[in-house]
């Protein structure tokens, strides 16, 4: 009772190759950015402890390779995800256009119990680049997000650490909410127990 159940949030970052998935994760977790051109090997994850509403949760952020998405990674990889982050490059229209397929495939592979309400977050990365290079307007991106059930949308720059913290804060929040919802959905008897410590807020 005293020690609150440790919450592990599984977050999956998806998106076309080269949009900055690894950079975003690195910027958020390590506060580092590298200009190196480096393909991600399969998938990798970093964990970070995040305080959310007086609660300390561990975020396990899975960074994925942008190639051939699900073919090379097992279904198990996506199972149990609490939030899915869809990343595109605002200077690359194609990377935006493929968001939908990323989303669809995620839903197929992860097969969450409540696909309609599964938390996604969309990130338009690389806003540090010259405005003239921009291919996807904020308006267009937001319109798409809205059409998909009001997905939160952030424009970030992993390079200059713009908006990254905020985006991941939202990700963590939505993931936690999802996690709690799932608990409620599936462990009704435990619900009371798991709710009670929720109010204690003594994670620190």
């Amino acid at each position: 009772m005293a020690s609150q159940r440790k919450v592990l949030l599984k977050v999956i970052i998806l998106g076309e190759s080269g949009v900055g998935k690894t950079s975003l994760m690195n910027q958020y977790v390590n506060k580092k950015f590298s200009n190196q051109y480096k393909a991600t090997i399969g998938a990798d994850f970093l964990t970070k402890e995040v305080p959310i509403d007086d609660r300390l949760v561990t975020m396990q952020i899975w960074d994925t390779a942008g190639q051939e998405r699900f073919q090379s990674l097992g279904v198990a990889f996506y199972r149990g995800a609490d939030c899915c982050v869809l990343v595109f490059d605002v200077n690359n229209a194609k990377s935006f256009e493929t968001l939908e397929s990323w989303r669809d495939e995620f839903l197929i592979q992860a097969s969450p119990n409540n696909p309609e309400n599964f938390p996604f977050v969309v990130i338009g990365n690389k806003i540090d680049m010259d405005e003239s290079k921009r291919m996807v307007s904020q308006k267009r991106a937001m319109a798409w997000c809205q059409s998909k059930g009001n997905i939160p949308y952030f424009e970030t720059s992993a390079k200059e650490a713009i908006n990254v913290e905020q985006a991941f804060q939202t990700i963590a929040k939505n993931a936690l909410q999802h996690e709690v919802n799932v608990k409620i959905d599936f462990h009704d008897p435990i619900k009371i127990d798991s709710d009670t410590p929720d109010n204690n807020g003594c994670a620190c």
């Binding site: 080269g18 090997i41 073919q71």
Partner: protein, 576 residues
Amino acid sequence: MAQQKVSFKKWWKNITGTKTAKATTTRGIFRVSGSAKRVSELQLIFDTPPTYGSQLDWTGFTIHDASNVLRRYLNYLPDPVITLEYYEKFRDVYKNVTDDTKKIAAYQELISKLPPPHSCLLMYLLDLLSLFAHHSDENLMDSKNLASVFQPGVLSHPSHAMSPGEYMTSAAVLKFLIDNQSSFTLPQPNIDDDDEEMVNFGLAGAQPSRPGPMTFKSSHYHGGFVNAADHEKLYEQPGFEDELDTGIKRQLSLHKPISEHATLPGNTINRSKSTNSSISSRHSQSGKISSNLLAQRRSDRGSKSSPKVYTERDPHGSEDTKENDLSEISKDPGTTDENSLTPRSSVIRKATTSPVIGSDDPNSEFTIRRKQLKSEGLHREPSIFCETIEIPFPAPTGSSGNEPFRPSSAVAPNIPRGAQFLPPNRFASEPQLQYSPSATKAVSPPTVSGHIDPSIPRQQDNSYVSPPTTAKTGLGVKRSSATTRKDPAQRPDHSMTIQRAKSNPGDLVSISARSQSHQMSASHTGNHTYEMFKGWISGKNKDHDSTTKEKEKDKVKSEKKRDSLTEKQRKYKSQE
């Protein structure tokens, strides 16, 4: 990133350097995604009979579409390029051996133990990747990046699916292989060199006779530079269609330093050569090899070939093995000057009946490019030199199937280098699952080709019986929702490879190599798998009936095609 829409031929020409080398210098090549829709389109085209994409006009497809379809192909293979059985072995070497020389030797050993289709594909792939890594200052895809991108299809294991750290190790292994690609060679066929008879065999060998081995003549593969024009001719070779449809086994020849030959067990290649002949090429052919000549060769060769090995395994096998006649032509050491290549090339021409193959034409694009590369200091000594890939295939009616099935893994470790090229009838005698619809109910062999890992949830009989569930994806293509390595049945089958090879003369040779491994798998895993393969593209299982009909149609067509191709062959001969 701006994508240039180019035809694939152009793309390949670019790779091979006949025009400006664009693909090799395209930033993020193999990493950057093409259009998911177009890649799926390509996949569909390559999987669709009767042409399997051979008539494909690449206009409208991008470089990245083309590179993606290769990657996808590899990722969808039932078994990774380095089979699951060898997964840990490859990694162990990397982890435990510190000395690079020893590492290379250990890998060489392992490569030669891989099932032949896999070792061939691996070699091709490494050759290709190292070519791209060579241009990493422009394309940014150094061997590390390439290894990251290709690791899932080359060296991965379902049991490590959730362990990113293991990916790193695997990618490091692959990186090492790419970096040292030039040190590796394929297992050598067991042959004598400079055998004029073989030249004659070559002529005959181009014409297939069933049941028996077919000869798939690949163009030269000079360290990654392939003359697209050669490839185009290749596809006009007699019997090619059939081979593509039915090929299982392949043999390929390559350049190899003689010093290595001498040390190889069971390897008789180049014994008569002076040791300064650092590079030799050889090609193999089979098919219509006259049996008396064979007998003669057998007696000539005696113990030089490795009949014992096969005798131990299977008395029939030894006979079969010897039919794998190979000719070999040697090349002057270290010379890249086309003049020195002339003798070899001319013999090759005879042997392969290809009017174009060869780099002795001073005006050929290939030659020009090579000169150019040489002057730039970029020309690489060919590490793989492949004139001929031999593909014995199962007879369509399965009439010769008396020989019991022998899983390759069961024999591979005991076979000396060279002997690993399988006896031609080996596959012909396997259950004719792929080609004989009536064999649907044939029981799949209980253990198959060494790909089985107990940790992998496969059916005991190695047939993948769970029907793929279909789901409309955002890709505009129906695909199983559970496409993983564990579900090879839902991955593209050999046909995809084959079509690619056919349709793109210059297309990555590795792809065609891959097709062999696919077919192998397909035949090993049983007819059911094959049927599943057929339904892969549409994401559903076609009726058995329709598949059967399709197959029948293909067969008829391919026979017709062969006849017409024979005509062409005659023409080539007369030209010679």
